[in-house]
């Protein structure tokens, strides 16, 4: 994902002199180095100093530039939280905060580098939009949106590197603020919602369900704020079972937001939420190892779905 961001930013930056990137001692991935070489003045490294990284992007945006702030997600959002809130969101400035390693992608680096609460924190700030693309193609589309939009600040949550392309054949395009079907199965009883890099696991779950004759639709809810409430209501009204899989704390994130909508519309739908536990893990290993330490494995998801088959929450069978 970070290389897709870098390639897209480099391409856009060649045409738009307003685009700048401010990093906090993070080695620029891929094409950002090319951007840095070509436009050294539009690449700023504040060093290990995230507060001034965010604060200065506010001043740059006030002067008409389109700055991106870029570092590891925890450092992009947690350390300079008040600068994000006051300088960017309260003043509603078009700055993009790019957080690398959303979720537990920095799996061997420990809890200090795990962004578990970032979606909850970012969604809680008025004016701040939140995008969580699921693959390199969505990163490219999201970056193009961020580069030209004027609606206010955006937190863009990325994974790391090496994520597979999942959306090339999606029936829907990427549109900011709209959920997107990656797989639309007519007559299916189950719809799986996910965002971010864990979409790969969501896709595997959809494949496994299809193999056993329970085909499922698959949706990328890449824009977590503003949430596509109308799109979610339509899904909750159409499917007997809605499954949310996300790499964020179970306390917040997409799952509780979907549940809130389902309650408000009195949806007759069984809801499942698979997310990171409200715990710090001390497991160091592969990304999959750390996800497993939170219970996020394909086996666990399928087992849980087996126990509660699609039936609607009032227990009625499929029509």
């Amino acid at each position: 994902m970070r290389n897709s961001f870098a390639d897209t930013f480099h391409e856009l930056g060649q045409r738009d002199p307003r685009l700048c990137i401010v990093v906090a001692d993070i080695s620029p991935a891929g094409s950002i180095q090319k951007f840095r070489d070509a436009f050294p003045e539009r690449f700023v490294n504040t060093g290990v100093a995230e507060q001034v990284m965010i604060g200065m992007t506010a001043g740059m945006a006030m002067r008409g530039l389109r700055p991106f702030a870029y570092t590891i997600a925890t450092f992009a959002l947690y350390r300079p939280f008040e600068m994000v809130r006051n300088d960017l969101a309260y003043q509603n400035l078009p700055v993009t905060i790019v957080g690398i390693g959303g979720g537990v992608a920095y799996s061997v680096l420990g809890g200090t580098h795990h962004a578990q609460e970032d979606v909850a924190i970012a969604c809680g700030i008025p004016n701040l939009s939140v995008i969580s693309p699921c693959d390199p193609l969505e990163v490219e589309a999201a970056t193009r949106h961020c580069a030209v939009q004027t609606g206010g600040p955006i937190y863009m949550r990325l994974g790391k590197a090496g994520e597979p392309v999942l959306t090339r054949d999606a029936p829907d395009p990427f549109l900011f603020g709209k959920l997107r079907f990656l797989r639309r199965v007519p007559g299916a009883e189950t719809c799986i919602l996910a965002h971010g890099g864990i979409m790969r696991l969501a896709q595997q779950a959809a494949d496994a369900l299809a193999e056993r004759g329970e085909p499922a639709s698959l949706v990328s809810v890449h824009t977590l704020k503003p949430l596509d409430s109308a799109g979610l209501r339509a899904i909750l009204a159409s499917y007997r079972r809605v499954v949310v899989i996300e790499e964020t704390s179970c306390q917040n994130g997409l799952g509780p937001m979907v549940k809130r909508i389902a309650w408000d519309m009195d949806a007759d739908t069984r809801l499942h939420h698979f997310a990171l536990r409200d715990e710090f893990t001390h497991v160091h290993g592969s990304h999959a190892d750390v996800l497993a330490s939170h219970g996020l494995t394909l086996e666990n998801i399928l087992a849980a779905l087996d126990q509660r088959p699609a039936a609607g929450r009032r227990g009625r069978g499929a029509p």
Binding site: E41, G55, M56, G59, M60, M62, G64, L65
Partner: protein, 297 residues
Amino acid sequence: MLVSDTDTPTASVPPRDGRFDVAAARRRCLELRHRILDLSRNLAAMHIAPAFSCLEMVDAIYFGLMRRDRNGASSDTFILSKGHGCMAQYAVLERLGVLSSEDLELNCKPEGRLGGHPDYGTPGIEASTGSLGHGLAIGLGMAYADKLKREDRRVFVLVGDGEMQEGSVWEALMMAANLGLDNLVCLLDLNDFQGLGRTSETHPHFYPIVDKIAAFGWEVASVDGHDAGALVDAFQSRRGGVPFFVVGRTIKGRGVAFMENVPIWHYRSPDAEEYRIAKAGLREVGSGGGTAPGGGS
């Protein structure tokens, strides 16, 4: 921002020849102190003392440092990072015709548009401050953008001495020098007071402040912060080439004898008798900056 002569007939514009009229500044600041005291009658609590300590500095920035065209417009920017001193800024902006007298009368009222801290989007206010430690980084971003765009603009940021304890200020201080921002000017209201007492007593190793800032790559001057002429002179005689820092030695509550260096006046409005005494005692201030240890001289 624009100066509108129709809004306020008394609006004052700096002399065209670029010279700063020190005597006029003293008269103006006396009038501004009267105005702020009068406005304090509208509110049970107002940050008077923090405004009085930086009043000459704010006045000098607007009337002596920010360049204006013949219409009074300036492309230079001022950010009051110690946002709780905003009555000084509001009173000056009223004087310039940017804010109306009604704006100031309705300060902190739901039908008005001014609050207890400067709010971005209000005429004349370039950044929302109030939480300390934000203004210098925002100003730094502006100054950097101006460099990128090859625009001849200056950014002035006024910070408080208590505010200097925020780590974010030091991040911005380091970065400004690294970026060579000679179009950025930071002014320090060194009044030696903060929430829990005298800074020189509670945080003695804050000093010597001049040496610290200079070590961070800034050119530093230290002046009597109530001597607007000295402030302007310091700016005009700077060597340049690096960001410029002015330590203004001030007295919190300056101008009202019973408020000077008395912590309770950080956030309190005078009662009727205190108001009468304060008004009767107001005189022109043009010197008398504080003597915080290590503030330089």
